[in-house]
Point group: C2
Chain length 145, copies 2
């Protein structure tokens, strides 16, 4: 560990802001600390999406499939920060109800990559995923660890 606690705390604050924006279904708010050229790997294709605006559009579309509020929290985050480069690994837990009534209780593994640009920490890559079962070839969205 680098032990750069002030920077780790700043990054933890940005992550808490992200989950607060999720609760409000505020797609632009999610991207408040995202670089314009952020690369995003999510549960849906493509392998990597590119850019802050594409991310906002994708998340706004996803939010529109839910009835009512979403609730989420990060779990077991490991935050490693240097002076200008940092990353976070852990779990993301998101709960909601789809418009068709289907409940969603999703655990993903989450990696966030940060660069400090102009004195400000920005997310330059977000990688969220689930593994899949090698026999049934189904994605495993209900695993907890």
């Amino acid at each position: 560990m680098t032990g750069n606690h002030a920077e780790e705390k700043a990054i933890r604050g940005l992550i808490d802001d992200w989950y607060a924006a999720l609760g409000r279904r505020d797609a632009a708010g999610l991207a408040a600390a995202y670089a314009d050229d952020v690369a995003v790997a999510s549960l849906a294709p493509p392998l990597w999406g590119h850019g802050r605006q594409e991310y906002i559009n994708g998340m706004a579309g996803w939010f529109s499939t839910f009835a009512g509020p979403l609730k989420g929290e990060p779990e077991k985050l490991s935050i490693v920060a240097g002076d200008s480069v940092a990353f976070v690994n852990g779990f993301s837990h998101i709960i909601g109800k789809k418009k068709d009534g289907t409940p969603m209780d999703l655990h993903t593994r989450l990696t966030l990559c940060f660069e400090k640009r102009g004195g400000r920490w920005l997310v330059v890559a977000e990688h969220a995923s689930v593994p899949f079962d090698m026999q049934s070839f189904k994605p495993l969205i209900a695993l907890k660890e």
Copy 2:
């Protein structure tokens, strides 16, 4: 970009070593620059695997399902390095033939997180994944981007 070219070059060398070990189906070689406590998110469960030895055992088991050599290369890597913290994002392309004759031509998105410990860059997290199709609920292992 941090523009720390010497460190970026060192990290690129470690990644090239990884793909060379893959070609030899050398599981311990893959983990030569992996921290003892590395966290690994791969295509198979669990969400996060923990530790270098678990990684070696898993990769050795995977290698044993192939007939003949594997070939792989990283594609479109973005390497960002500070003095003690670094990360890499891009694609991993791996080709092989399973023992039952099935050809495998796999593209994943890849994130690697590095810390410099004792003067040496070590992988502390590897996150490789594919997205899945939201209608068919099938993992998309053949996407190229």
